[in-house]
């Protein structure tokens, strides 16, 4: 108890000083994601009548769990991306890797960014999917957010190279889609990556 009385003010002081000195970076530049105003929402199913109460009543739990596929048709510009043909091989050589727990695009990756920008510039009808991935260290949801930050950082880098942000969609797989399912530094280094999937317009469209 005594120790806590001493330590608490110290910690508070430390927090206060961090709060004052911690904002050197300035605002982080972000580009709004295309379709940001439209949620792709399936048809509603109307109000439900479900008995209240935290414990599920009756027998060994709810019966008759229907496993039908959910949702309805996609309605915003996500559809435009989903209708296109995925070409994972085209930009595979330009996969970008990241440092541990970082979404900073390293200088050594600028050549890859330039190559992806070049491919998009030379094929104006194509669009791009950026997949952000993480190694297995870090919790699942922390990594899901980190993977998104990596994909968004790559998108920003492409925008700086003159690419229209409306042509790019991001997706984070967190640590759920490892390139190498191993558990050592070599595997982790491979898994901390941003993958570029080129999208071509479907033939005849």
């Amino acid at each position: 108890m005594k120790l806590n009385q001493i330590v608490f003010p110290l910690v508070l002081a430390l927090v206060a000083s961090l709060a004052v000195t911690g904002c050197k970076k300035g605002p982080v530049k972000t580009t709004i994601i295309p379709g940001h105003n439209t949620s792709i929402v399936g048809p509603g199913n109307g109000p439900e009548t479900v008995p209240p109460g935290g414990v599920i009543p009756g027998g060994e739990g709810p019966g008759g769990v229907d496993r039908g596929p959910g949702g309805g048709p996609l309605v915003d510009n996500r559809t435009e991306f989903d209708k296109m043909t995925r070409d994972p091989a085209a930009l595979a050589p330009y996969t970008v890797h990241f440092a541990f727990d970082s979404a900073v695009v390293l200088n050594k990756e600028q050549a890859n960014i330039a190559s992806v920008a070049q491919a998009l510039t030379s094929s104006p009808g194509d669009k791009l999917f950026i997949e952000g991935n993480c190694d297995e260290r870090g919790t699942q949801e922390y990594n899901r957010a980190l993977g998104e930050r990596r994909a968004l950082a790559l998108r920003e880098a492409l925008v700086k190279n003159g690419i229209d942000p409306e042509r790019i969609r991001t997706i984070s797989y967190g640590k759920d889609k490892p390139e190498d399912p191993g558990h050592d530094e070599a595997a982790w280094a491979k898994n901390r990556r941003g993958v570029f999937i080129l999208l071509h317009p479907k033939a005849g469209v």
Binding site: M1, N4, V7, F8, V11, L12, V15, L18, T21, G22, C23, V28, I32, I33, G35, H36, T38, I40, V41, G42, N45, E48, V50, P51, P52, G53, G54, V55, I56, G59, E60, G61, P62, V65, D66, R67, G68, P69, G70, G71, L74, D76, N77, R78, D82, T139, Q140, E141, Y142, R144, A145, E148, R149, L152, T170, I171, S172, K177, P178, P181
Partner: protein
């Protein structure tokens, strides 16, 4: 004998609200002792041999009881689980039968869970968790596609809810309803679904471009907090339970894992401020972000606020993950309890369900935060994680 009585009184002090400044101070000191250090209530279990014994031992252990010889016990639990469950609870000191029950109908497991609940209620004067449910994410190979499941809180009776064969994440219960919120990649994007377990129907609550994940329903069920990246960064947003009235709450760069205070006034979440990971809270109606003091525990994430409002459990990310608990008012600094991540409170505000890694597969486990006693749940698939306790 004296020691036994003293330890029981200590638990009583922690859970019974006292009044007056002096009493308040005593209570706080005891709470510090209690987190992870309380002595379990010693009971002797006799006459149960099969599945009933297994259920009673699991349920009582994770709610702060230990099993000792009749000589060392404070309470004697005697009965049978041959065919059906029947039993008595005797207070050895008062030489008084406190509880006498026999059950029929339903399954033997359910009878034993019910008896465990009545024992907890009789001795601790608290509602037991024996008949409660959890939802979780199940992945056969430990990564990649999975499905959302529900099960009894001890992992028995698993039921698959989705058939997406896609990456799924972070189930959360709609309070007081047979319904879940969760994230599924089934439409090639992480979208948040509302899924009624009574009708089997579901709909997308948040399907914006970018990340839609970590849904958490407000205690009254009217609102959802979640993480969206549609503004170009990972932030906390709230909307109505049907997805309407979307509002951005935070503007940080690394916001994740929102949870609600039980009064619905606050949303607690993990963020990064000044280059350091912090826990923070923001009024559910919007306003300034306030950091929480995690007193030197580094890289906190995944907060969950106890239903009684007293505690915040969270995960410490270091080389391994650890479950920590601190008081929500900041008066009791965090106590590191056990290895694990994704803590979710039981309705009793003393037991947590979480997952931990065994041989690169996640296993669900149930922990009593006061005695630090924990037991692994039955496995549903190769890897079970991100549990959410129905409340």
């Amino acid at each position: 004998m004296k020691k036994i009585i003293v330890s029981f009184l200590t638990i009583g002090l922690a859970t019974v609200a006292l009044t007056g400044a002096r009493a308040q101070e005593i209570r706080i000191e005891n709470v510090i002792n209690i987190l992870g250090q309380a002595r379990p209530i010693p009971v002797a279990l006799d006459g149960f041999t099969g599945e009933g014994a297994e259920v009673l031992k699991f349920d009582l252990y994770v709610q702060g009881f230990s099993f000792v010889t009749p000589d060392a016990a404070q309470y004697l639990i005697h009965g049978s689980d041959a065919g059906s469950v029947a039993g008595t609870v005797t207070d050895k000191f008062a030489k008084r039968v406190m509880l006498s029950r026999s059950y029929n109908g339903a399954s033997l497991r359910r009878q034993a869970h019910t008896f465990a609940d009545e024992i907890v209620e009789t001795i601790q004067n608290k509602k037991g968790v024996g008949l409660t449910k959890i939802a979780f994410k199940a992945q056969p190979s430990g990564y990649g596609p999975g499905e959302i499941y529900i099960a009894d809180f001890d992992g028995h009776g698993p039921q698959r809810i989705t058939t997406d064969n896609a990456i799924v994440a972070k189930p959360a219960w709609a309070p007081g309803r047979l319904a879940l919120f969760y994230t599924s990649y089934v439409r090639s994007n992480p979208d948040i679904y509302y899924h009624s377990l009574s009708t089997g129907q579901r709909r997308v609550i948040a399907g914006y471009s970018g990340l839609n994940t970590s849904a958490a329903a407000s205690p009254d069920g009217a609102k959802i907090a979640m993480v969206l990246s549609k503004s170009g960064s990972d932030n906390i947003w709230v909307c109505g339970a049907d997805g309407s009235g979307l509002k951005r709450l935070t503007t940080g760069v690394q916001d994740s894992s929102p949870c609600w205070s039980p009064d619905g006034q606050w949303i607690c979440f993990a963020t990064e401020i000044g280059g350091r990971r912090r826990l923070a809270k923001v009024a559910a109606s919007g306003g300034a972000v306030q950091t929480l003091n995690t007193a030197g525990v580094s890289n906190p994430t995944e907060p969950d606020w106890s239903p009684d409002g007293k505690w915040i459990a969270f995960t410490r990310q270091s080389r391994d993950f650890d479950i920590c608990v601190m008081s929500a008012d900041g008066k009791v600094p965090p106590v590191v309890l056990v290895r694990g991540e994704n803590p979710s409170w039981a309705p009793n505000s003393r037991t947590l369900v979480f997952n931990h890694d065994i041989g690169h597969r996640d296993v669900l486990s149930v922990l009593d935060v006061f005695t630090k006693q924990y037991k692994d749940c039955a496995r549903a698939t190769g890897s079970d994680s991100q549990p959410a306790w129905a409340k």
